[in-house]
Amino acid sequence: MNEMTKTNTAEIFKDGDMVEMSYAEAIRDALDIALTNDERVILMGEDIGVYGGAFQVTGDLVHKHGEDRVIDTPISELGGAGVAVGAAATGLRPIFEFQFSDFAMLAMEQICNQAAKMRYMLGGNVSVPVVMRFPAGSGTGAAAQHSQSLEAWLAHVPGLKVIQPATPYDAKGMLLAALEDPDPVMIFEHKILYKSKGMVPKGHYTVPIGKAEIRREGTDVTIVATSIMVHKSLDAAKQLEEVGISAEVIDLKTIRPIDRETVLASVRKTSRLVCVYEAVKTLGIGAEISAMVAESDAFDYLDAPILRLGGADTPIPYNPDLEKAAVPQIDDIVVGVTQLVKGER
């Protein structure tokens, strides 16, 4: 894991206010702060209590805040999510954890027909400030039903906000921002990031939803990446630098609503665009980024086709080598960007 968060946050927080923690710990810290500061906050999910969550995100919070606040649900994703939606509409601030984002398929109705639309359908007379967390992505050897990246589904749905923090710093700050948001916020967390470390401010702070961040400046090509692909892209950018290619890397952070201006400004500067994401390439978030740029004024600045590096057209395979082959790796980014810059694509 690269060290970007340090540079990033150093501007805002003095070193003494920061502490190194993992992505999972940063989320737990945010949850702890939220539970402590606001009695309306509750956590719901499967095995988030004494077990501490399948990925140990909630950890020992149940011991501190009690079973009434950190609620183990039965294995009932549709009903559980719906209870969170109903609770949010009536005054609580539930944070619902899907054990794996794949299981959220069972709850699409409550997320997309109810939570996303309730405010609109009711003429603005209600808010649904529910936060949902989706551990996503491949790399754990858990095969096709435990490795998906389905964030594009939710980003297709008006009424939702959808974020993909890539660092411990953002994981904490964006979760705290989500809790202050009056509308439903969906957080996709890549499982492989849970153990990644970074410097995180102590106490309460927020990182705005809807703002992308330039993680690395460059002049030859813009790489727009999400979640774990931000890290892979930064690693690729280092290698590309060695062969004289200067890549700008944008961490999109929020995929609904997209920070259009940050992306377009970068493309106007570099004239080349590569979108990198783990989800299935077809209709993944890179499709939207590409289309957004291709229909904007930035189109006129483009010196090359827009390259997308996304997941292969397959369920995630079990075999570890196939599993890697199914999603973009650092090498793929290096090769793809190099070809693009050299006009070979």
């Binding site: 009536t90 409550q110 509308d183």
Partner: protein, 336 residues
């Protein structure tokens, strides 16, 4: 409320004041006329979309909501006009909604299937069968967590009881002992499919035992019977003793929606049930107990007719939304 029951005196008569009982009858008549007015507007092409009328089910809606305090909440269904009126909504703003106007309860964005009156505690009809059940449980969780003392009434149909959401929600309400009452309005059909063909139990209330909660089946066309059953369930919920399932046997006189050709049931069945008209039944009981006179009922009808006519007029004359506002309220506008 006490649950006294004098011999041969129906629960409602002994437990509600004459004013309350007359108001219940008025609400039932209002629902009937409301639905007829809506049907008429629809037929005349003044209202578009679809609608699901609750004519024949008035006692179920009114009798259930009688058991509530004003602060209590309900979730409703696609067949939700009656629930909305019963919980205290104004006919004018409901009609305005059907006419797609800014003065409608949902500012013309929701229509019949999403009619709601959040201020009066109606969290909304729902276009998704069983979609409101988990939401009701969530509202009950809020009430318990924040000690609001509210009870939530969750309406759904017989068809909804075969949805997974029903099962998951009743289970959670039970294990967490939440203040919610599940009211299954069993009108014998989910659209065209009879409960015999869709549901593997005889009485839907028999399913209550799968969630260790009380289950009872009552005549939903008898205002007193339904209000009694729901009152017991509401008191239980308010006392912290958890949820109940009340099955209210009733019948819709009209087709499922406006496109129904009634091919799945007989004329005889329909007319048999029309003979059990809940309004006539309550009228008779109230007259029997000298709570109201025939003339007073006529007066109610006249005033309700006027209320409906005024409501439709209000709706028609109300302003339409501006086309620039098509995406308003998708998200909360942040005024910072």
């Amino acid at each position: 409320m006490t649950k006294e029951k004098k011999a041969n005196v129906p629960f409602a008569i002994s437990n509600y004041s004459p004013e309350q009982l007359r108001e219940a009858l008025r609400k039932m008549i209002l629902i009937r006329r409301f639905e007829e007015g809506a049907e008429d507007c629809y037929t005349r092409g003044l209202i578009h979309g679809t609608m699901h009328l609750s004519i024949g089910q008035e006692a179920s809606a009114v009798g259930s909501c009688m058991a509530l305090k004003p602060d209590d909440q309900i979730t409703s269904t696609h067949r939700g006009h009656g629930h909305c009126v019963a919980k205290g909504a104004e006919a004018s703003r409901m009609f305005a909604e059907f006419f797609g106007k800014e003065t409608g309860y949902c500012k013309g964005r929701g229509g019949s299937m999403h009619i709601a009156d959040v201020e009066m505690g109606n969290l909304g009809a729902n276009g998704i069968v069983a979609g409101g059940i988990p939401i009701a449980v969530g509202a009950a969780l809020t009430s318990k967590r924040l000690k609001l003392g509210k009870v939530v009434l969750c309406f759904f149909g017989d068809g909804a009881n075969n949805e997974g959401a029903f099962h998951e929600s009743l289970n959670m309400a039970s294990i967490w002992n939440l203040p919610v009452v599940f009211i299954c309005e069993n009108n014998k059909y989910g659209m065209s499919t009879s409960i015999e063909r869709s549901t593997a139990v005889k009485n839907i209330s028999d399913r209550a035992s799968a969630y260790s909660m009380p289950g009872v089946t009552v005549d939903g066309n008898d205002l007193s019977a339904i209000s009694e059953a729901v009152t017991i369930a509401v008191e239980r919920a308010r006392a912290g003793d958890g949820p109940s399932l009340v099955e209210s046997l009733t019948y819709r006189w009209r087709g499922h929606s406006k496109s129904d050709r009634n091919k799945y049931r007989t004329k005889e069945e329909i007319s048999d049930w029309m003979d059990k008209d809940p309004i006539l039944r309550l009228s008779a009981v109230l007259q029997e107990h000298s709570i109201i006179t025939a003339k007073e009922i006529e007066a109610i009808e006249t005033s309700v007719d006027k209320e409906i006519a005024d409501a439709i007029k209000f709706a028609q004359e109300s302003p339409s939304p501006s086309m620039n506002d098509v995406t308003r309220d998708v998200y909360t506008e942040l005024t910072s």
